[in-house]
């Protein structure tokens, strides 16, 4: 089995955000292990990736939603041959559609990300754990309907 490299992890991180910003649902979901656990920026507890996919699909991938991310320096820790951690700051802006149909905008200027990647039997890097958070409190703003 091939070993993970720092460049490979950085490339996966850029691919991840490109899929998120582009609302490319299949590419986005394919980057997670189905058994991954995720702390969303405002989540009070960890949730399974499968649940997160449904929520993000509803809130972020609709025609009235949008995601923008500007990544800072990505620190990569290689933990053995098949495990790596990416840790980085980012500026994160989203327009999300709530279950009641309302749209809210959230700017997270000091977002922090930890993503743990593991290489699978086919040599693909998958996220097995994700922790997103904000260093400063953020307040969602209600937006007019489109």
């Amino acid at each position: 089995m091939q070993s993970i490299s720092v460049d490979q992890v950085r490339s996966e991180v850029f691919k991840f955000w490109s899929a998120f910003e582009g609302k490319t649902r299949s590419s986005f979901e394919e980057q997670y292990s189905p058994t991954a656990g995720v702390f969303a920026v405002d989540g009070r507890r960890s949730e399974p990736a499968r649940l997160m996919w449904v929520r993000r699909d509803r809130e972020f991938f609709g025609p009235q939603s949008s995601v923008r991310a500007r990544l800072g320096t990505i620190t990569v820790q290689l933990l053995g041959a098949n495990l790596a951690v990416a840790a980085y700051p980012l500026q994160f802006s989203v327009v999300r559609t709530l279950p009641n149909g309302k749209r809210v905008g959230v700017d997270v200027p000091f977002c922090r990300a930890t993503q743990v990647f593991q290489i699978d039997e086919k040599g693909k890097l998958l996220i097995i754990h994700e922790h997103l958070s904000s260093a400063e409190p953020v307040a969602p703003k209600e937006l007019p309907s489109q």
């Binding site: 620190t75 933990l79 840790a87 754990h129 904000s134």
Partner: protein
């Protein structure tokens, strides 16, 4: 952490560990964060306590495990402006441990955050 012992806290981290502390904007070496944390908590008047919620452990590789859990953290400090109490009610933790050759588990990565800003109570000067 609620025991306030800097030496004990440092013993939990591997030399190259990377951490995101509660309000840090960047990942940083654990040594830097621990030094800051020790200064904040070293005051004789400081008191801290923590309650850990349900923990999920994932064995990620032969020598690595990921612990994720929620926690509450309470911190009381006396300063010139009086006593302030800070309550982190929705803390979230990711900690990645490595098992050393001697069997010890050391943290190689940590991300601590709060889903909701901490509640702060201030009482008058003494």
């Amino acid at each position: 952490m609620s025991g306030k012992s800097k030496d004990r806290l440092e013993d939990f981290y591997a030399p190259g560990a990377i951490v995101f502390t509660g309000k840090a904007r960047q990942p940083e070496p654990a040594a830097a964060a621990l030094g800051r944390r020790a200064r904040q908590l070293a005051s004789a008047s400081a008191a801290t306590s923590a309650e850990v919620g349900e923990m999920d452990i994932r064995i990620a590789a032969a020598e690595y495990a990921i612990a994720t859990y929620t926690y509450r953290f309470h911190d009381t400090r006396a300063g010139q402006g009086g006593v302030s109490q800070r309550h982190t009610l929705f803390g979230r933790a990711t900690q990645i441990f490595h098992q050393e050759k001697d069997g010890r588990l050391l943290l190689v990565h940590e991300h601590l955050s709060a889903a909701v800003p901490p509640e702060v109570e201030k009482s008058g000067s003494k």
